[in-house]
């Protein structure tokens, strides 16, 4: 009995160690590694036609700001179309979008009826794709505020025919609003400035994040667009692109601001959707990933770890419980007891430090002096994620057993607090 317990514990520690090594490798890569993939400067000789899709469901507080910014983009107007898909909004979104469309010919609006609306982002994006004419399809959320030259920076990478998609960096606009927005900002720094950059440098699996990114239109169509059954449609699309033999590039200098969730409740809803969607993607893509002929071994390892990342908080808790049980029931004279002691101790101490190290170095590289001091508070977010991921895991298992999903799409609501940090006119605010 004890040996089974020990075996499970060893396996868990091995999996967790793989993640901790990955954290350190990514952080050191982001810090020091200079042998990354080539970067491209925007070239005027390569400027494909571009369609930007902006899904909007009750976004009256932020859509004006976002549209104003898209018309300020420096990409040639004749090659740029902006398609707003009003997903059955019941607020002023429709009127705001229409007023912009009347004024600027590059903005097109698609209205979905109130009955059709609010059923998920994938359906809305597929609707937009039907009307898009660009060679490259970009997606931006309604609360996003991009750099003016972001499209040039991102499209430059499509000169490489192997590149099927690109991803820019997301940073938090309303960071000073609440503790939650500050912690989200730290998570974003770790996720983009370190994780995504290191993945790109090491030729691993940079992820398409669903927004601030673009796909080749022909690839997107050949993949059948966004899958409405998937909650994490971005992770799903990422792996479908890689399995089809394409690469995704991450461009750190292509930045876009987002309005982060401000309360623990919104944070919980968003992360639950991400966790459940990611687990759903893991169940779908793990086996095809292992068998794929289009991916190198290092890509497969990274893909495997990426797909399973939301199971990790669950594993950590399980390892604590099993470790404590094993420790209390085993004789202190047994050999395994002494084998376990240092390994668990070192893992728990150095291993648990790895995510803090990653985020801290990201903030250091960005020159963020004050936000570094909030790093210890990430422990709160971690504990919260343990609960969220555990719930998502059990819910997805139940839905697999029962055979139907009980999840109802919950959209992240935006209060427009990001408007306080940029110059926004009344029209952009929707007044």
């Amino acid at each position: 009995m004890i040996w089974i317990l020990n075996l499970i514990l060893v396996l868990l520690i091995a999996v967790m160690s793989a993640y901790l090594i990955r954290h350190y490798i990514f952080t050191l890569t982001a810090l020091y590694y200079r042998g990354g993939q080539p970067s491209f400067i925007p070239s005027r000789s390569y400027q494909p036609t571009v369609s930007i899709l902006i899904p909007a469901h009750n976004e009256e507080k932020v859509i004006g700001r976002s549209l104003q910014r898209t018309i300020e983009l420096t990409y040639p107007r004749e090659k740029l179309e902006i398609i707003v898909i009003d997903d059955g909004s019941t607020d002023q979104t429709s009127e705001i979008v229409e007023s912009f469309a009347r004024e600027y010919e590059q903005i097109k609006v698609i209205h979905r009826t109130k009955g059709e609306g609010g059923r998920g982002k994938s359906i809305v994006l597929n609707e937009g794709l039907k009307h898009a004419t660009g060679e490259v399809i970009f997606c931006f959320d309604a609360d996003y505020y991009p750099q003016r030259d972001i499209i040039e920076k991102l499209t430059a990478y499509f000169v490489d025919p192997k590149v099927g998609a690109v991803q820019g960096r997301v940073t938090v606009l309303n960071e000073p609003s609440t503790l939650v927005t500050r912690l989200v900002a730290l998570e974003r720094i770790g996720g983009y400035r370190v994780d995504q950059l290191a993945r790109d440098d090491l030729r691993l699996i940079p992820q398409f994040g669903g927004t601030v990114g673009g796909f080749r239109r022909d690839l997107l169509e050949s993949l059948g667009g966004w899958d409405p059954k998937m909650l994490a449609e971005d992770t799903d699309l990422t792996f479908r692109a890689y399995l089809a033999g394409y690469k995704i590039r991450y461009i750190n200098e292509a930045e876009c601001y987002e309005e982060a969730v401000e309360t623990w409740q919104s944070y919980g809803h968003q992360r639950y959707r991400w966790a459940r969607g990611h687990m759903q993607a893991a169940f779908r893509h793990l086996w095809p990933l292992i068998r794929s002929q289009n991916l190198s071994l290092r890509e497969k390892i990274d893909g495997f770890l990426l797909l399973n990342v939301y199971f990790m908080p669950l594993f950590v808790v399980l390892a604590w419980i099993l470790g404590a049980t094993s420790f209390s029931i085993q004789s202190s004279e047994s050999t395994t007891f002494y084998l376990f002691l240092p390994s668990i101790f070192i893992y728990s101490a150095i291993g648990n430090f790895a995510p803090f190290f990653e985020v801290g170095i990201g903030a250091y590289l960005d020159g963020r002096e004050r936000i570094c001091r909030l790093i210890p508070l990430l422990l709160i977010a971690f504990l919260f994620n343990v609960v969220i991921c555990t719930k998502a895991f059990f819910d997805i298992c139940i839905s697999k057993i029962v055979g139907r999903s009980s999840y109802k799409w919950t959209k992240t609501s935006h209060r427009g607090s990001g408007n306080d940090f940029i110059n926004v006119s009344d029209k952009e605010k929707g007044k």
Partner: protein
């Protein structure tokens, strides 16, 4: 359909401060040598781990004196923390059946991570200050 590749990768990378790592390593060895006369058991292991973790800060850009001060400060806090923890267990006179063994190094994070993040923040500030002096607007 042509594009010029960058000569240097964006964003720019740091160059590790190897000399700082060597000096930091010597200081850490000296500190461990001193600490083993003061502490034993899990308290000593915790401080050794803190020192190992803190060594990762030494290759970063920033003045060596700042890194050493924070290293010494961290060790001082660690010793005080261990004394407080020891006092508590003596006062409570309880044996948590090994659970405390697992909890101890998780609880130690309550001082390890804040000290490290404050050190990192100081390095950031000094890096900025130096940059501003070198390139005044």
């Amino acid at each position: 359909m042509s594009s010029q590749p960058y000569s240097c990768s964006v964003p720019c990378k740091e160059t590790p401060q190897y000399l700082h790592v060597v000096i930091g390593g010597i200081v850490v060895i000296f500190l461990i040598f001193v600490l083993q006369h003061v502490l034993t058991g899990s308290a000593l292991i915790s401080l050794i781990i803190f020192n190992m973790i803190f060594l990762l800060t030494f290759p970063l850009r920033g003045p060596l004196w700042c890194k050493i001060i924070w290293l010494l400060l961290g060790n001082t806090v660690g010793v005080l923390w261990s004394l407080i923890r020891l006092s508590f267990s003596l006062v409570l006179k309880t044996d948590f059946y090994g659970i405390d063994f697992f909890l101890n190094h998780i609880i130690d994070f309550l001082w390890v991570v804040p000290i490290w993040s404050l050190a990192l923040s100081s390095l950031c500030i000094l890096k900025h200050r130096k940059k501003n002096i070198e390139n005044p607007k």
